[in-house]
Amino acid sequence: MTSERAQNPSSNEVSQTGFPGEQQSLRLRGVSSGASDQNYPQFNWRSTSEEEEEEEDEDEDENCEETREIRSRPMHMALKRAVRQVQEMQVPVVSSGKSWKWRHAKSLRKLKNNSREFLYFFVLWRKSLQKIGGNFGGGVQSYFLFLRFLVVLNFFSFLLIAGFVLIPSIVFRSVGSSTGYSGFVGSQCMKYDPNPQGLIVFYKYFLDLLSGTGFMEYSYLFYGFYNNTMVESGNFSYNIPLAYLGTAAFYFAFCLICMIARMGSAFRVTVATGGSTVGNYSMMVFTGWDYSCLGDQATKLKQKNINYQLQVDLEEQRLKRRAAELTLGQKVLLYSLRVLMGVLSLALIFAAFYGIALATDFSQQKSGQEGILGLIFEYLPSIAITAGNFVVPLLCDQIALVEKYPPSNTVIVALLRSVFLRLMSLGILLYTLWSQITCEGDTDSAACKLCYYNHGDYPCWETRVGQEMYKLTLFDFLIHFAVLILVEFPRRMVVDNSSSKLAQWVGRQEFVVPSNVLVLVYGQTVVWAGALFCPLLPLINTVKFVFLFYFKKITLFYNCRPALKTFRSTKSNFFFLLVLLLGWGLALVVMIYSLSEIHPSFGCGPFRLFSSMWSVFPASFYSLPQTSQEFLFFIGSQAFLTPLFVLFIVGMCYFIALASVYGKSVALLREQQKREVRDKQFLVKQIEELKKLHPPIDNAAVYES
């Protein structure tokens, strides 16, 4: 009966259920033959056998693609296996050369499968992440995925540094190669005595561990311990200063490549989906449910979540309508209020910066103090930064209540403010340090005249900068631990066990993803900024992040209730990496400036003989063989770089043009689709009208004949 209908392209079809009409157009396209009422695109037996006959002369890769495509076909399993059997049986018909290629591709696929099974074991924390994702949703899971990425990045960075700087240094030191420096500048500059004399109180070791001074200062941890050994024995030569600088440069490049690779996959999804905000409701209805939700509580929560999202969207619609109805006077008032609040929040942020600068200054002045008070003075910058990063966002949240932005904008504005605060506070700390080390860049002032840096206060300034970064990292870790023990667990116990109204109002803690991610980004930026001065910092950071993973997991499962407002996980992945890239940029600026502008210490470190850290590159360049020098000169010359640059610009223009053409063609195709639909409706109307004009007698005649 269906085939009859298919043969009569008359009016009855389209007005009934859409399927026959659809099949009609599919048949016209020649894809499916043979009618069936199956609800999905059919597999066409006849076309396969036709294809197989034609394929004898074509590339044999088609066969493998057919096989690969089988599992992407929406057929029942029994059907798929039958198809596969048919294809397997048809293989021996082809020539031997092509069958070798086919077998080669098949064994390649087997290899890929086996390697996938093997690598299955090496993925870190897979089960934990699964549990977290199922119980708390994609947003929280993306935080832990980000943390895992940072752990792996730091670990491989440490391996890099260990391999090229740490192990050679240990080897050369134990072998006892001479350091080969000769004092030529006044011995004033070279005075550096990190080992304190006299009796040391026992608890001083603990204080030293926390602040990186004393026994920790002259160790592999900091820059000052490494010598400028340049070993040349036989045909083996190793230049420690060059290795140190080269490793630092390569470490930055390696981190950049990892971040960009990860950003690329997140960005591809955003580009492919057009990044449009249209389709909010349909997306939420059809893609809102996370099928990997586990457990009763998680499901209830997910439902509450979706509820909340829908209500927020409906509320936003209502707000938009109300905002459009505001009178001019009210609008002016609202905008001026927003400007005022923006200025106020900026003022708060700058007040925090000033506080941090003061604290750093004070701490540096009192750096000789002993005992617990001395420890507190050492940690003053870290305390100031942490306090500022805690208090200012709270105040900004209150300000946001006055500003009355729509809910999605509030989140973005709060996030931008936090990012600015976090990264700039680190910048302020480094700037304050710099101004003290180099007497604010003025090499003619009394303290800095002799050695180009303040050798009185900073006999080994790189170690001091390294110590500051070390203290920041350590303090961050200790604060997390302290907050976990002293704030989060007690909060939960109080909320669970007391029934007072205050406790219920405060409620259990929420795991807020954005601020936690910013903490991670801040920690990683500190490590990047300090890696040049404290080579073991990536290792310390790896250990710190591993502990942090377990701390956060414990607090998530025991102390937190899942947040009602969730983050879109795909967009947020891209955003986290973008902020991380910003942090990387800041650290890069710091590193480049210290490499090129500040004179290395005379009394310590691998660069004590050079006028700047960068100058080790030209120095070792001239020790290369003549041909390499000429080759490198050629690459650096205009004759090579200018055509390369032009080629690069041309390539970029090509890709931009290609992308815009694709975008335009997608838009055109969408328009065409809409137009076709309207044409179809028009034709249907015409057919109906024609039917009315010709009386029904004709139809009966058609049926009889």
Binding site: R73, A78, R84, G279, Y291, S292, T570
Partner: protein, 187 residues
């Protein structure tokens, strides 16, 4: 690999590997999960392709599907008879489509089937209302449900027939960045 297993022949495992997105180990693990749903019904020896179907009620008790509001529709969409009785083939098929390696187009086809409650090849208003009620556990007021369904159809309907055909659905899904990660069950 070297392990001797007697559940499937090597050829069967190869066929499963080609027809799904799973590796050999994962297929064996799936068989173990299928078996533990009904240990007395499911044979341990599949070399002869036995005819064994598990009813809907057993399948939806799996922890992965237990709390999913669409569990019945999922199992029904993958069963050949449309009643939710799954043989091992269909069981593997279901988890293969819901795994993270299945392509977007394939998932979209099955997602459409799942949300099409009255199996008429269109997502009409009743289908949407049922979907929404299952999503929010009927916490929205009827006016809100009406509003959301209207807006959904308005946003996604391209051919103006006030219901969503597969083409409309697929068009809308292609613009959803989260679809691949949410339409995914780990097993």
């Amino acid at each position: 690999m070297g392990n001797k297993q007697t559940i499937f022949t090597d050829e069967q495992l190869d066929a499963y590997q080609d027809c799904t997105f799973f590796t050999r180990k994962e297929i064996l693990r799936l068989h173990a999960r299928y078996h533990e749903l009904a240990p007395h019904l499911v044979p341990m020896d599949y070399t002869n392709d036995p005819e064994c179907k598990l009813p809907l009620a057993l399948i939806v008790n799996m922890p992965e599907l237990n709390e999913n509001p669409f569990r019945s529709r999922i199992v029904e969409s993958f069963s050949e008879d449309g009643m939710g009785n799954l043989s091992f083939n269909e069981f593997v098929d279901m988890f293969s489509v819901l795994s993270e390696m299945a392509p977007r187009e394939l998932k979209a086809i099955y997602a459409f089937k799942i949300y099409d409650f009255n199996v008429d090849n269109y997502l009409c208003k009743e289908d949407l209302e049922k979907t929404l009620n299952k999503l929010t556990k009927e916490e929205l007021t009827p006016e809100e449900v009406e509003l959301v369904c209207e807006k959904t159809i308005e946003e996604a309907d391209l051919d103006g027939d006030h219901k969503l055909s597969f083409a409309d659905f697929e068009n809308m899904i292609s613009r959803a960045p989260d679809f691949l990660s949410t339409f995914h069950i780990r097993i």
